[in-house]
Assembly symmetry: C2
Homo-oligomer: 330 residues x 2
């Protein structure tokens, strides 16, 4: 295992120290493992997300004006605790309530549910939206139902923009839910990731094979197949997503994310083929992100997310945002 | 070799098609392998850079308002040609001249020199700044003198901001030169990269060793040593840079770049230790970037760049920029 770390046991704490050192505009609570935006919230809804570490920049890279008010970081591939979530809610609630954005993994869902109960006890109103957008498989190693992946980034952006406009908790939750339901994703792994505390790859993937439909923790996907070229992979992913939901007839937000160890040049190579495949299916892309947005430690590969949008969603997408990983207009 | 590509021969062309598809706000000239900003230049100085592909987002990711007017892309790890550079200069010159920002590699330097002569023949005034900031070794495989690495990103930002202010070519060249001379970098590789046309790693690096002072094309560094932890690596890099130039007594811009296959979480882990090491040396960091900015295909590792700044350089650093890889205020 070759990693820039000090010890498998201190990866999360060390990374949070790094975030604190690099980004003085963020407040990092090392004890509670929170990254919190420091701008005043002035009686508007606060938006919180969180999950296991290892998917950076998700979620801490999306904290800041126009997106998340706080991110709760669990250990690597491990849900944060209800206490952390409560600490985050207590910290950012400005009296208008808190939206929890939750990826659909059993631990995250249960813990955010408990956090909502604890928050209610403290007089903090919460709502939750669950993202379950991975079309690869129904139930998976760590989920009942579909896994939550790339659509989460888009839900976080739209919810943050809606909250910034001063909408009520019910309104912010409603549009977040609408975006969540409008998103689909699928990923392909060329290599496994290696969890630091384990010290060896999570699964074996021969030099001439790839895992189609892999999960962001290395969960098995749809099938193990011989390595394809970018055009073939693009066709597979676009077909899986577009067969699952109708993305024609409205503008689409597309997110192509590397899985952690895939360089940007390869993402652009395959994006060219993805764009062709989308065009062949009559899908019209209105906004695009290409880069590392939701990763799986040092896994090589990529995932594609499509969200069917409308004028309101596009307007909220374009609204100013200032986070370490997504920034425009501020 | 596991890569998201179609053929080793078409990586550059395919990646440029991807950039064109993802970023309609950029003009991509596939034939001449240029990425060009589309905003009007209105009689101001134009700024051009370029070099071999494989270091993305450098340079094409830095094209846009407030930074580069055009980037010339060579084949992987291969200089672009004088004809490409001339085509770029012809395309973006608005009558106030063109600044070439050149990394110090023999091919790039010679070709940009020839391009300057060709441009002069066409009545286009040019100036050039050469970046030679890698402290690892004096002469290297592909250079006479020091290699040009991460400081290039900061020179491109500052030169673009100075050009946007309407400064003359001599003035833009002067501040670019000042930034270039104020920067130092060093990198550490945990793994080799694999050039697609070669198909196997550029060098062998055993599972328990790392290359300190590696070049961005995999050139040998200072020494091959047993793998260290993040704290040790941070100490080595900071010591090498801070022993080479005095970074105390003025604000510093720090750039920590992954080399292509290192996930963001590891960069934050080592940034915590870099921040400690800088603090111990009395170096005060005013601005920080952590992410992939200058890479080496799929190499794992990182490089640190420090630029000693002043109020003017910080002001130009903070000026609005809108590129695919660096964006704020626009």
């Amino acid at each position: 295992m070759k990693k820039l770390i000090n010890s498998p046991d201190t990866v999360l704490a060390d990374a949070l120290r790094g975030v604190a050192a690099a980004h003085p505009e963020l407040s990092v609570d090392i004890e509670n493992r929170l990254v919190v935006a420091t701008e005043p919230r002035e009686n508007r809804v606060a938006v919180i997300s969180g999950g296991g570490t290892g998917h950076e920049p998700l979620h801490s890279g999306f904290v800041g004006p126009g997106m998340l008010d706080a991110a709760c970081a669990g250990e690597i591939f491990t849900s944060p605790t209800p206490d952390q979530m409560l600490a985050a809610a207590t910290r950012v609630d400005a009296g208008a309530g808190v939206l929890f954005i939750v990826k659909n993994y059993t631990g995250d869902v249960l813990n955010f549910e408990m956090a909502a109960e604890l928050a209610a006890d403290e007089g903090i109103e919460t709502a939750s939206v669950i993202v379950a957008d991975d079309v690869a498989v129904e139930d998976s190693t760590w989920t009942a139902g579909r896994r939550g992946v790339g659509t989460t980034v888009i839900v976080e952006k739209i919810a943050g923009a809606a909250a910034a406009e001063g909408r009520t908790l019910a309104e912010v939750a409603a549009i977040a839910e609408r975006v969540s339901k409008a998103g689909r994703s699928m990923g392909v792994a060329l290599t496994s990731c290696t969890v630091p505390a384990v010290g060896h790859p999570s699964f074996d993937l021969p030099e001439d094979e790839m895992e189609v439909g892999v999960g962001i923790h290395g969960e098995p996907g749809r099938r193990r197949v011989p390595l394809e070229d970018a055009r073939g992979i693009a066709h597979d992913i676009v077909t899986a997503i577009a067969d699952d939901a109708d993305f024609t007839g409205a503008p689409v937000i597309a997110l192509l994310s590397g899985l952690g160890a895939t360089p940007l040049i390869e993402l652009y190579v395959i994006y060219a083929d993805i764009a062709d495949a989308l065009s062949e299916r009559g899908i019209s892309v209105a906004r695009v992100l290409v880069g590392d947005y939701i990763t799986s430690l040092d896994m090589a590969g990529c995932s594609l997310t499509l969200v069917k949008a409308d004028d309101e969603i596009l307007r909220l997408w374009d609204a100013p945002v200032r986070t370490t990983a997504l920034r425009w207009g501020l």
